[in-house]
Symmetry: none
Subunit: 399 residues, 2 copies
């Protein structure tokens, strides 16, 4: 798809705003039969839907629940089945670690082992984050020949391990046996080219065990999701856009940086994000705005909180429309139905407004209404071509 698009791209001065309301899609409340979007009072989104082309986005494939990584890569135009990002890399992006090409990253857990070295708690009793910070300091100056080592705390028992140096390879098995009563596993290279990296990681684990011997319950580490940065075509080059990402949460800044967007400094609220958008309106022509509250409420299983989060988002629409973008898109990276209290596989409502979007009969922004929209049910990686077309930034294919 990107190979098809890139040669068709032309530049102009149009401006595009893509709002990703995280976990946007929902499911009906069993008592009312209405989803979060159908329950919320959304005068601005409904008005916009009536003037927009609407549809549904499917992020990976029918029945597949997307994580935040694949969910956003799709919105950015990358087929999430082609461009895969491993857990270690996502974890590093999530703390905005400056991961570089060739680095090998892994997700780490502090865990508890007994005197025989057998795991008794895979999460070390979810130690407080402050303890995690102190323990990563013990591991940080472990020396490995020919590589730089980074051990970065995340939250509670979680940390990120990064190896940096020439010739590293992330094709490694995991040390976490995913069960109690077993000893952590040695790392194996799943490709011969990764043999040296496997040996380095095993050296690190042995030394970590020595340094943590007196730190029970966090007296050992488990490592999984080894990976390296994928080779992604750069968004600004493929689409010839000056893209800016505005996101309060580090994971989404990391994902935007991964594809080459410029990440703008912003505050911790969506009001801050909209202010940042207004401030930088002239300097960029593509803005990715991330709204987290819908996902958080959905993950908590809090239907009413998700309805309120949607209504708050709705209230910001006029301030964004006031900037007069040429293309305005509202959608999400995946569903997070409150009744699931987790990410869902359901397609996500999509609203796309431009002067050339055409009309359909949809006059409300909800899963049910958008399913009758003129955009139909599209794969997430097809959104960017549609956006580009509506911005008059694509020439025709074939004479």
């Amino acid at each position: 798809m990107l190979d098809l698009i890139a040669p068709l791209v032309v530049s102009n001065t149009t401006k595009i705003v893509l709002i990703s309301s995280d976990g946007l899609g929902g499911l009906p409340d069993p008592d009312t039969g209405r989803s979060e979007l159908e329950t919320a009072r959304l005068p601005h989104l409904d008005r916009l839907a009536a003037r927009s082309a609407c549809g549904l986005i499917r992020h990976v494939a029918p029945g597949i629940t997307p994580g935040s990584g694949p969910g956003h890569l799709g919105l950015f135009g990358y087929d999430p089945l082609t461009y895969r990002v491993g857990r270690g890399v996502l974890e590093a992006l999530g703390i905005e670690f400056d991961l570089r090409a060739g680095d090998v990253a892994a997700r780490g857990n502090f865990c508890t082992v007994d005197a025989q070295g057998v795991i008794t708690d895979r999460r070390a009793g979810r130690i407080p984050t402050e303890v995690c910070v102190r323990l990563t300091e013990r591991l940080r100056d472990i020396r490995l020949p020919g590589v730089d080592l980074f051990v970065e705390p995340v939250k509670e028992h979680r940390f990120v391990l990064v190896l940096r140096g020439a010739g590293l390879d992330g094709r490694l098995s995991e040390t976490d046996p995913q069960a109690l009563g077993k000893a952590p596993l040695a790392v194996h290279a799943s490709d011969p080219a990764a043999a040296r990296t496997a040996a380095l990681v095993n050296t690190f684990v042995a030394e970590a065990r020595r340094r943590l011997a007196d730190a029970a319950p966090a007296n050992m580490v488990l490592l999984r999701g080894f990976d390296q940065l994928p080779a992604l075509p750069r968004f600004p080059e493929v689409f010839q856009l000056r893209p800016a990402a505005i996101a309060a949460y580090p994971m989404y800044r990391g994902l935007a940086r991964l594809v080459g967007m410029e990440v703008l400094k912003t505050g911790s609220t969506f009001a801050d994000e909209v202010a940042t958008l207004r401030e930088h309106w002239e300097a960029y022509d593509f803005f990715f705005l991330h709204y987290k509250d819908t996902d958080k409420a959905g993950e908590d299983g809090d239907f009413a909180a998700k309805v309120e989060a949607l209504e708050r988002l709705d209230g910001f629409l006029p301030a964004i429309e006031e900037l007069r973008p040429d293309v305005l898109v509202v959608t999400g990276d995946h569903a997070t139905p409150a009744v699931l209290a987790a990410h869902g596989w359901q397609p996500v409502p999509l609203l796309l407004w431009s002067r050339y979007c055409g009309a359909d009969a949809v006059a409300a922004f909800s899963e049910r209404a958008c399913s009758a929209g003129s955009l139909g049910l599209i794969a997430s990686q097809h959104l960017m071509p549609l956006v580009m077309a509506n911005a008059l930034r694509l020439t025709k294919f074939g004479a």
Copy 2:
């Protein structure tokens, strides 16, 4: 797709009419909120839509604006991303040049160069077509070893260059630097197999320059879009149909001939085309009818003219229905919304009538109405299988 269909095809005596209204799809007039189709009075198309299965056709991919080549190949059953037709070939088809397998065709421009050989006008001031005709005569008898050469005038500064002979290869770079102030480029082979063809083209260009030295402003040529006829499965064999193409414009006759349809002699109006259809009704079982006026009005940005063109098309429907086709399809090769004054990426309305088409709630032939149709939003190359099924010309897949 064609590999799936071909073994399922069975013959019978049903008759199919496919009307391609060029540039059919439109966009709402900002003042009225109604598209060209929604503005036009279309009693016959609306009546037919009410009895038909309706939907939308997407020709290439979301957001991609199709040219006439990919647009029609899709309607004929060929995935336009798999079967690509280069600009040189399309240009040759557009003047109904009898292009043969192995021929290398290129689009040519007469241009102006200064005493240093630097381009000062890429279109030679758009010389009148009569001048173009005279200048192509100067170039036509250039001799190249082992190949026949054709230099055919098109319109204004444009011409087609065709090399015919054994072992030619169209994988060549262009001579047009697409900028003023630069000299035309030498042709390079982008594959080693094309080295000899590159040398031949460079010899042609050097000789053309000599022969045009006194012909300012048209004192040099630029060549681009080198290509050879693609190897397309033949329509009559894949679908076991006796297909006839009825089109007043040479480009569409050329595209039909490209897939192996028989091209019927007809006049310059759609009334002539319908008369030709009636005359040849017994001799064929698949008729491709091309209606150009909708595209022309759209390209001119003339909303009212497009509305009138649609109403004229509507008026011809009864004469076509009188022939009692078993399957009648009305759709288009791409949208040409008057508000864009150009081809658009929007899906195109589709109406398919047969005794077995099923019913849906659509009772008007427009973008908005058809988006709620039972055929949904389909890829253009899926139309022919649907048509064949409705003609009872496909057996089941699997026992």
